[in-house]
């Protein structure tokens, strides 16, 4: 399904910052026995990044992919690559591994050239070995011990990637997973392991007032009830006992009543609480753009991980803390734990172990702190803490609600003359290390005077709520304004794509509304405002594969949408097909992606298809709707797309071998939402601007 295309190469990418922090070849790779070790700071979230890094290493080193191991990520062993987020793993870690491996390859050839007195051009590396007559030199010979201590900047390299058979890039860990043998953090074991559960106030209650743990401590197998301020949990020698004990403990708690922090689902509350405007981008004349105006709304959306958050923690006799967590950032978590627990940074060690897909900042780090607090009561013992479904559904940080108001004026030719975009949102980053003070739940429970800081937005180009708010289109006059909202009725933090989902939904829906007012075809309308050949290419490909020119059957429709993620990353165009007989209205999605040079086609397709289906679920079904102050507690109160509701998805990838490789995990979300809205408009002549675009809302709009 991959299609190659001719393209002039764009300028080379800038060097990832992590390379400066870790400048030695051996910071990134190692040679052990006959294996290659890749040391990355990026963690495996289910996005296939470790397989991709192994592929990069195999290609650069000219070794068999089966010889490459990607080492588990930990603060003891791995380079600090901050968070695995933002679709940057390929760009950052991939580039670092490629550079380090190219340097190692060059050094091997150099040493072999000297050893065999042969010119470098005549030598070949075959699965890590250079052969000359009867002699060999390989990565695993003595020279590499000092070679790995070389700075890769000091080594001249040539672009000499191999695409040998055997480097198919497929994930090697899946067989063990399917056979039930490959573990998640939930599966960790230890001698004398204790099982922990936490007890948190049932919303809208906010705090623990009193607890009588007599009955709980009497349950055989309960080892301890731990209370510290408002933090409450239980330890038992068996998991079923821990679960029962937590249930009993909950019934023996008295909760301080909390006020319901109600808000309207549509998002008027965002405008009511808005901070003064901050200009994100300005271009051309700044007079008002009186013309079409439209307001779009996106509700809070949950990460909704299938497996709840979990962690294992153990304190050593000398007061050091070991934590096993599915966090996206082992170093930021280490620093956050050290701060909250009052430990020197080098006393905390975090190792990443896979969890269920997190899609951003879910409860992983909170669970790590909870585990550490429980384990502190039993030094020397390992404690495994698993959140309940209610813990995860109610306490995970959600993706922020957003409102987007767009206005534009068209000139006499039907081109956009002026474009205005104002958006209201909570911050999109509430992660450890970003907000100036501890953000984890238990920090406020331990110390009621500590108020969790509100979420923030990093500056562009990554941005948070501002992500993808600046249109890629060539408009002569543009003004983009951010209205931050610091009132947080629900806890919020990073959800896949951050502000790009809401902004692209709005921009691409509005492009269709403008195209309609100009009586121009939506594909043509976009192409008339786009110079970037790669942007044009994905749109044209999506239109072609989506049968754009074909007649629509009755009560069916097609919609198109496009975005370049963060305006600097992967390009994506989506055509959505809707029809009456599809369970949620969407029958097919045609997704086209240009992510530069493809490392592993199957990995790209898996991520793109997965991202499209998840975004379709957000778009058609999802909204965090507290009832009487209680957020979702389970899957009934937060339904997601089911097997019988998933549309057909066809994915097309434009491989650009000369362009830097880009991540694809997040580029599809915004275009999917807008393509669906545009398809409903095409089919039913109704314009829906409030997510989610449920069946009920479509029918209600038809009746109006």
């Amino acid at each position: 399904m991959a299609e190659a295309a001719l393209l002039t190469a764009p300028p080379p990418a800038t060097r990832p910052a992590h390379l400066e922090k870790h400048p030695l070849i051996g910071d990134w790779i190692g040679f052990d026995r006959d294996r290659v070790q890749v040391k990355t700071g990026k963690v495996e979230l289910g996005q296939g990044i470790h397989a991709a890094l192994a592929t990069i290493a195999a290609e650069e080193l000219h070794v068999a992919a089966s010889r490459v191991d990607v080492m588990p990520v930990s603060t003891r062993e791995s380079p600090d690559e901050d968070y695995t987020a933002g679709s940057l793993s390929i760009t950052q870690s991939g580039a670092a591994v490629r550079i380090a491996c190219a340097a190692a390859r060059a050094l091997l050839l150099e040493h072999a050239g000297r050893a065999f007195s042969q010119p470098l051009d005549s030598l070949r590396i075959d699965d890590g070995v250079v052969r000359f007559e009867r002699r060999t030199l390989s990565y695993w010979d003595d020279w590499s011990r000092s070679g790995l201590r070389s700075r890769f900047d000091d080594v001249t390299t040539r672009d000499q990637r191999s695409r040998d058979a055997g480097v198919d890039g497929l994930r090697q860990d899946l067989r063990a997973l399917f056979e039930g043998r490959r573990g998640f953090v939930h599966d960790l074991d230890a001698v004398g392991l204790l099982h922990g559960r936490v007890v948190r106030p049932p919303p809208p209650a906010r705090a623990l007032e009193a607890v009588d743990d007599t009955r709980t401590r009497a349950i055989p197998g309960v080892v301890a009830v731990i209370r510290s301020g408002g933090f409450l949990g239980v330890l038992a020698d068996r998991e079923d006992v821990a679960v029962r004990a937590a249930e009993r403990l909950r019934t023996d708690c008295r909760w301080a009543p909390g006020a319901v922090d109600a808000f309207d689902e549509r998002g008027d509350w965002l405008e009511t609480h808005a901070e003064p405007p901050a200009v994100v981008f300005e271009k051309g004349s700044q007079s008002d753009a009186d013309g079409t105006v439209a307001t779009y709304n996106k509700p809070h959306i949950a990460h909704a991980s299938i497996g709840p958050s979990a962690a294992v923690a153990r304190w050593t006799a000398d007061g050091q803390l070991e934590v096993w967590s599915h966090t996206q950032g082992v170093y930021p978590l280490k620093r956050e734990l050290a701060t909250i627990l009052g430990l020197p940074g080098d006393h905390v060690h975090v190792t990443h172990v896979e969890g269920a897909g997190c899609y951003g900042h879910n409860g992983a780090e909170d669970a790590a702190l909870d585990a550490a607090l429980l384990a502190r009561a039993v030094p020397g013992r390992s404690v495994k803490l698993i959140w309940s479904r209610a813990d995860e559904s109610a306490h995970e940080p959600y993706g922020s609600a957003m409102r987007m108001r767009l206005s534009a004026r068209l000139d006499e030719r039907g081109q956009v003359a002026a474009w205005r975009h104002e958006f209201w949102s909570n911050g999109h980053v509430g992660r450890p290390g970003f907000c100036g003070a501890p953000v984890l739940l238990a920090a406020s429970e331990l110390n009621p005077d500590h108020r969790r800081p509100v979420a923030m937005d990093p500056p562009l180009p990554p941005g948070g709520s501002q992500r993808n708010s600046v249109p890629l289109y060539a408009f002569p006059s543009v003004r983009v304004v951010h209205r931050p909202v610091r009132h947080e009725p629900l806890r919020v933090s990073s959800l896949r794509a951050l502000g790009a989902f809401g902004n692209v939904f709005a921009i691409e829906s509005f492009m269709d509304e403008l195209a309609a007012s100009a009586a121009v075809d939506p594909v043509d309308f976009r192409l008339r405002h786009l110079d970037d050949p790669r942007a044009r290419a994905v749109i044209e490909l999506a239109a072609a594969r989506g049968g754009w020119a074909e007649t629509r059957p009755d009560r069916a429709g097609r919609g198109i949408a496009f975005a370049r993620y963060k305006n600097v990353a992967a390009y994506c165009a989506v055509v959505a097909e809707v029809s009456d007989d599809a369970p949620l209205g969407v029958s097919r999605l045609i997704v086209c992606v240009d992510a530069g040079r493809v490392i592993t086609l199957d990995g790209v397709v898996n991520q793109v298809e997965g991202g499209a289906i998840q975004a379709a679920s957000w778009t058609l079904k999802e909204s965090v709707r507290p009832r009487d102050g209680a957020p979702p507690m389970d899957w009934d109160s937060y339904p997601i797309m089911r097997f019988t509701e998933v549309p057909r998805v066809e994915t097309f990838v434009l491989d650009r071998p000369d362009a830097p490789s880009l991540g694809v995990g997040e580029c599809v979300a915004g275009p999917v939402a807008a393509a669906i809205a545009n398809a409903f408009a095409d089919a039913y002549h109704v314009r829906l601007r409030d997510l989610p675009l449920t069946r009920e809302r479509v029918l209600a709009a038809l009746q109006d």
Binding site: L45, G46, Q47, G48, R171, L174, R175, L177, F178, E179, G180, R181, R182, F184, H186, D187, I219, P220, G221, R238, E239, D240, V241, V243, R244, E247, R248, T251, A304, S305, I306, G307, P308, E354, G355, A356, G357, Y359, I386, S388, R389, D602, N606, E609, G610, G611, A612, I613, Q614, S617, D634, W635, D636, I640, R642, F643, T644, V646, R648, V649
Partner: protein, 160 residues
């Protein structure tokens, strides 16, 4: 299950073809006995509420939820977990591997059990049959279509 003091009793049953005995509270969930007493960690906790399917197992060939099934209730019965499915239906595992039908993989065990039940009952399922059989399983990563294709591949391999 609250308010009942734990009994120590012995529950014997057949797990993936071999007889096992668990000496634990018979009111405790089968899920924890499988994972902690029997070292069978393929069956996963997702919700404890029969809403997500991550904990699905077969009991006497019928799909069931290990998270709500009391250990004592499987006495003398045949329990099949994903580990047993992998042994009994290698074509299913092969198909999932070839299709790379996972991202985070957390839902995969439950999906494989649901798929096994389908293949036992219907050797020639349609796309709709497979979707319906897996409809009680939730997947958040969006791997649904790959998993459906893998099940169809497995059905074809078993027929051929």
């Amino acid at each position: 299950m609250t308010g009942v003091e734990p009994a120590r009793a012995s529950t014997a049953f057949e797990l993936n073809g071999r007889t096992v005995e668990v000496d634990a509270d018979p009111h405790g969930a089968l899920l924890y006995a499988l994972r902690n007493d029997l070292g069978s960690k393929g069956t996963r906790f997702g919700c404890g509420l029969e809403q997500c399917g991550a904990c699905r197992v077969l009991i006497d060939g019928v799909v069931s939820y290990a998270c709500t099934t009391p250990l004592g209730s499987v006495a003398g019965r045949r329990v099949t977990t994903v580990e047993g499915v992998a042994t009994a239906l290698p074509e299913l595992i092969e198909a999932f591997v070839r299709r790379q039908a996972a991202q985070c993989g957390y839902c995969a065990s439950g999906v494989l059990v649901s798929a096994a039940a389908l293949l036992h009952a219907n050797p020639d399922p349609t796309d709709s049959d497979v979707r319906r059989a897996l409809d009680a399983n939730l997947c958040r990563c969006g791997t649904h279509l790959r998993m459906v294709r893998a099940v169809l591949d497995a059905a074809e391999a078993r027929r051929g």
